[in-house]
Every structure is written in C-alpha cells, then in structure tokens.
C-alpha cells in the first residue's frame, strides 16, 4: 500500500478542514498539533518506508513511526490523540522519541510552523561541461515516422534549413577544443556522436576521435566516446574501429521484426529489421570492450515491453535495454494515449520486479530504466532541473551552434552560443532562471518532483510549445514508475543491500 501527503495548508493534507475557532482554541491551550510534511509512504519486503520530499531521503519506519505518520497524513493530531491511536503501552512509551525523530528528519511538523519557501538556487557559472553531444549530421537513411528530427513534430528544418547536412572536420575539431575548454577542472570529458544517422559521417567521426585523443593528452585529460546509431551502416571495418577505440554504442531499435518495421522504415517504406539484426549480432560478437545497449522508442498500439526485452537480450544479445515513450504531439498516429501509459506502467512493473529477483541473487538484468532510477534513489538526488541539459550537457549542431541538448541542436530555440565563441553565459543563466523547479508551480505538490523536476524540455516543447512547462500529460506515469522503483529499492535494501553498494562506489 502506498500513500502520499502534500506539504502546505492543512486543508490540502487531509479531508477534515480546520475551523477557525477550533484552531484558536488549540493555540490558546498551547497543545501542538502535528501534520505530515510532503512524503510518499511505500511498502517493500513487508515493511513500511517513507520517501521524503524535497530531501529525497528514504527511511525505514518502525511500527510506531508508521502509525504516527499515517495518522498525521490523514489530519492534524495532538500528542494525546496520537497516544490514543497507539495500541499498546510499548508504543505509547515510544511516542515522544518517535515524534522527535520524525520531526528531526522533517517527515512531520507542528501545524503552526511557518511554511518553508521553495528554494531557488542557480548553479554557479561557469558550470563545467561533462558531456558534449555532437550532431555530426542531420541526415538519415531511415525515415521513422515518429522521429523528432524528421517527423511531423520536428523543430529544425533539416532539408532546407541554414545548417549544413554534414559537420565538417574543422567544425568537429573546434567542437573538441570547445569541449576541453568548457570541461573546466574535470579530468574526463565525454563526447557522444549523434545524428541524423551518425555513421553517415563516419570519416569525420574517425578523425575527430584521433584529434580529441591528441588534444586531451596534451592537456592531461581523457575523452570518453560513445555514439548512437540505427545500425544500418555497421560494416565490418566500422565495427572494428568502434571496438578498437572503445567507443560506447547505443543502438536505436524497437524490438522484433513486426514492431521494428512498423515505424523504423527506409525512405521507400521498407522495414529495417532484416538489415539491422545481422549487423547488430556482428557488432555484439566483435565489440566486447564496452557494454552495448539498445534504446527502444515505445509507441501507440500493442506494447509488449517484456517480449521486446526478451527478444533484444536473448535473441539479439544486448547487455542492456532502455525504453522511452515517444516524444510527440498528442494527435499523432504513434502517440501513446492515457490508457497506453497505464499499460506501459503495468509492463514496466513486471519487468522491474523481474530485475529485483535477479538483483537479489546478484544476477545481471539488463532493464536499464530501473537501474538508473535505483542509483538516483540510492544517492537521494533531488533535482532543481530535470536533466543536465544546459548545465553539464550541451548539443552541437552541424554548423557549430551550441544548443540546450542534441534534440535542440540547429534550432534557434535555446541556442547557447557557438563552439568558436564559447557558451553564451547570459543565455544560459536566463534559461536556468526560467526553468528552475521553483518556477513550476504545478510540480510543487507532487512527491515525485525530486526525480522528475517537470520532465524533458523537448517533450514539453513538442507537447505544449514551451520548454518551461512541466509535462503534465505523464504525471501519473512518473509517480507510478517512481513508486515501483521505490518498492524495488526498499526490497533490495532488505534482501540484498550489497547490490546497492555498487552505487556507493560510483559516487
């Protein structure tokens, strides 16, 4: 069972509105009444837990703490009322110490305590760049119907726009210099090659990696490389190069043949599965220096997440599979409906609990969505911004314009300078000021905001025309998914805490 409470005026917390005379009487008598602060209660391995908002702390509760927290979530309680609600003498003798602990970690507060404002702290500039996503081309040999770069919801005109279709070697080298300059004190810089179809510009990619290695070595830094590809151009020499250079590879693929061929098609409409499947198998056979992941776009229609997962891990051989719902306007053929999100959640839940059973036995499970969320939960991350875009991550368009992220590369919306002139700090600051979670009032009563923070800027831009808007169309999905991950996290903390220790090492 899970329950959640919101911070704020008492009438929002419970179903019993406070009457003014009653309140005045309470004040006169000096009896403090306790209310819950924002939290989300959940159960795992048969035990109660609480996820606190906005701190993102996870605490296990004993029976007394659980009873108290549930009571004060329903309505304000005095100490005497809480004492009456506790069954036995033991619990009653623990009442004061439990109230003190719940109050200390900010799970509860006295009702008269002044409400706390939403903090708004903008990161200090210059924020070091960790990842640069380099759009080496905006051209593609597929024409997936849902593509945000080519499809109906595109924000950049890649056919007749001002950008060149391919990034030149010179611009790519300027981008590397930009990256190393903006990475500040970081020892390692990450470069992700992206498109379009990245491998259409393979020659520039090869030269850029060599250049980046050399420049980084001169500066005493390291560069880590990765790319995303649709796998159609994975020829043996390409595979050999990627393996030898330890380039991380993510393959965009939607699943078995009939799923893949529904939207991931060539310009003539022909499906791409039969072309890519053997090439991916070759890649997986040769390229063992980095784990290779699949990235699945979920669309409308029958979603069979488990079957897609089985196919990609067992039949094809991927180490990890990550799923993301398609980014689209609501009226498109491939858009996921309200019911579709519920169905997706149910299937994600099944797969997440499968992950749990594997993790309990220290077996690998490749459902990467759950692992990423578990890491964030374990660290207690509480976000002011939904992702690193515009902070530690930026996208670079084919002409060297610096964008919020790869999805905005080439667009004049949220352009942050150029690789030649550096980051436009005033544009960056204005963006961060406007997109802080403190501005997203819709999110202020949501317990999942430490992880979500309003969701993807590009999704909001496509859906509502404004990056500042929170993605209200998938709130239930986010809360449902976060709840599932909390249950998996709580269960792991009880059944195999050693599994979670890997996230301690990473930090």
């Amino acid at each position: 069972m899970t329950t959640s409470a919101r911070q704020g005026p008492e009438e929002r917390v419970s179903g019993s509105p406070r009457s003014a005379p009653q309140h005045a009487e309470q004040r006169r008598s000096g009896t403090p009444r306790w209310v819950a602060r924002e939290h989300h209660r959940f159960e795992a391995a048969g035990k109660p837990f609480v996820y606190l908002v906005p701190s993102a702390a996870v605490f296990g509760l004993d029976e007394t703490a659980d009873v108290i927290l549930r009571r004060v979530s329903e309505r304000p309680h005095t100490r005497d009322e809480l004492s009456a609600a506790l069954d036995d003498v033991d619990s009653r003798s623990n009442l004061d110490s439990t109230l003190a602990e719940l109050s200390r970690v900010r799970a509860i507060r006295e009702i008269d305590a002044a409400p706390e404002p939403q903090p708004k702290i903008i990161p200090l500039a210059p924020f070091p760049l960790t990842t640069m996503v380099l759009n080496v081309t905006n051209q593609c040999n597929l024409s997936c119907e849902y593509c945000y770069e080519y499809g109906e919801d595109k924000i950049v005109d890649t056919e007749n726009g001002k950008q060149p279709k391919f990034m030149t070697e010179e611009t790519a080298q300027q981008s590397v210099d930009f990256m190393l300059r903006e990475s500040g004190g970081n020892k390692v810089a990450h470069v992700t090659f992206f498109g379009g179809e990245t491998l259409l510009n393979f020659p520039v990619l090869v030269k850029t990696i060599a250049y980046a290695r050399q420049r980084a070595a001169e500066l005493g830094k390291e560069v880590d490389f990765s790319l995303t590809t649709n796998a159609t151009l994975l020829k043996p020499d390409v595979i050999e190069f990627l393996a030898q250079n330890r380039v991380g590879v993510t393959i965009s693929i939607d699943g078995p043949k009939e799923v893949q061929d529904k939207f991931r098609v060539f310009h003539n409409g022909a499906g791409s599965y039969d072309i890519v499947a053997p090439k991916i198998k070759e890649l997986l056979k040769r390229h063992r220096s980095r784990p290779i992941g699949a990235r699945v776009t979920l669309t409308s229609g029958k979603m069979d997440v488990r079957r897609i997962y089985r196919h990609l891990t067992e039949d094809i051989g991927f180490w990890e599979v990550g799923f993301a719902p398609v980014t689209t306007s609501p009226n498109r053929r491939h858009a996921i409906s309200e019911n579709g999100y519920d169905e997706m959640l149910a299937q994600f839940r099944d797969l997440a609990f499968e992950f749990l059973e594997a993790a309990v036995e220290n077996r690998h499970h490749g459902f990467s969505n759950v692992k990423e969320t578990l890491e964030e939960l374990h660290k207690g991350i509480s976000k002011a911004f939904p992702c690193g875009a515009g902070l530690g991550l930026m996208g670079v368009a084919t002409d060297g314009d610096v964008a919020l992220c790869h999805r905005f590369a080439g667009s004049d919306v949220h352009k942050f300078g150029t690789v030649r002139d550096g980051v436009d700090r005033s544009a960056q600051l204005a963006f961060l000021e406007a997109h802080h979670i403190a501005n997203k009032t819709d999110c202020h009563t949501c317990w999942a905001r430490p992880l979500c923070a309003g969701g993807c800027y590009h999704e909001a831009h496509t859906r509502y025309g404004e990056t500042t808007r929170p993605n209200l169309h998938y709130c239930n999905w986010i809360r449902g998914w976060t709840d599932v991950c909390l249950q998996v996290y709580g269960a792991l903390s009880e059944r195999n805490p050693g599994f979670l220790a890997q996230f301690d090492r990473d930090s």
Binding site: S55, A57, G60, L61, D62, R104, V105, A107, G380, S493
Partner: protein, 110 residues
C-alpha cells in the same frame, strides 16, 4: 535513531547533520570535535563582547567607537549604520582613525 532507519545516502547524511549536540561554553578549554560555529563577535578575530580571543575577559572590547566599525565592516550582522552603498557613501570620510576621530563621523538623518 531508534524508530527510523536511514536507508539511502541522503537519509544517512540527514541523520549525521541533525545529530544533537550539547550546548558548550566558549570559555571551555577544548571545543567539540564536530564543526562548531559560535554566535557573536568572537567569531571574527577582533575581540568580542563575551570573550576575548584567548577565551578570557582581560582583552575584551576595544572602545565603543571601534565596535561601530567592526560591526559595519567585519561582521555579517547588519549593524545600525548608515547605508554606505547608496544613501551616505561619505559618512566616515573625515574619520581616518576611529579611536581619535570618531567625533568627526557625520550624523546621518534618513
């Protein structure tokens, strides 16, 4: 804590950060091992009102007019002095050495 168990890293940090401390007197020989931030002027290196820099009372405050500058310049506490940034930038212009020239400080009326 007896009734709550810290599960994630953030919970453990909150538990450590809210660990209750005893109240200690500044004059006490050794300070607690955890970071300790006394409240008051003895936080800065000028002698304060409660204790001097050695923790005793022998070298207590300098003359009252010195305090004026201490609060005004060296301390985060908003001392009751004129607004030197906007309203009265030159109010201490004639006061080169506070202990000698303090009578020359301008009177400022808001």
């Amino acid at each position: 804590m007896k009734h709550l168990k810290s599960v994630n890293q953030k919970a453990a940090r909150i538990e450590r950060a809210t660990e209750p401390h005893d109240v200690v007197a500044l004059q006490r020989g050794s300070l607690p091992q955890t970071p300790h931030f006394p409240i008051g002027c003895s936080l800065v290196f000028s002698p304060g009102w409660e204790a001097d820099r050695t923790g005793g009372t022998a070298g207590l405050c300098q003359p009252v007019e010195r305090d004026l500058f201490d609060c005004h310049i060296g301390c985060y506490w908003p001392a009751q002095v004129p607004d030197q940034l906007n309203h009265a930038p030159d109010w201490t212009a004639k006061c080169a050495a506070a202990q000698k020239d303090w009578r020359k400080i301008d009177l400022i009326f808001p």
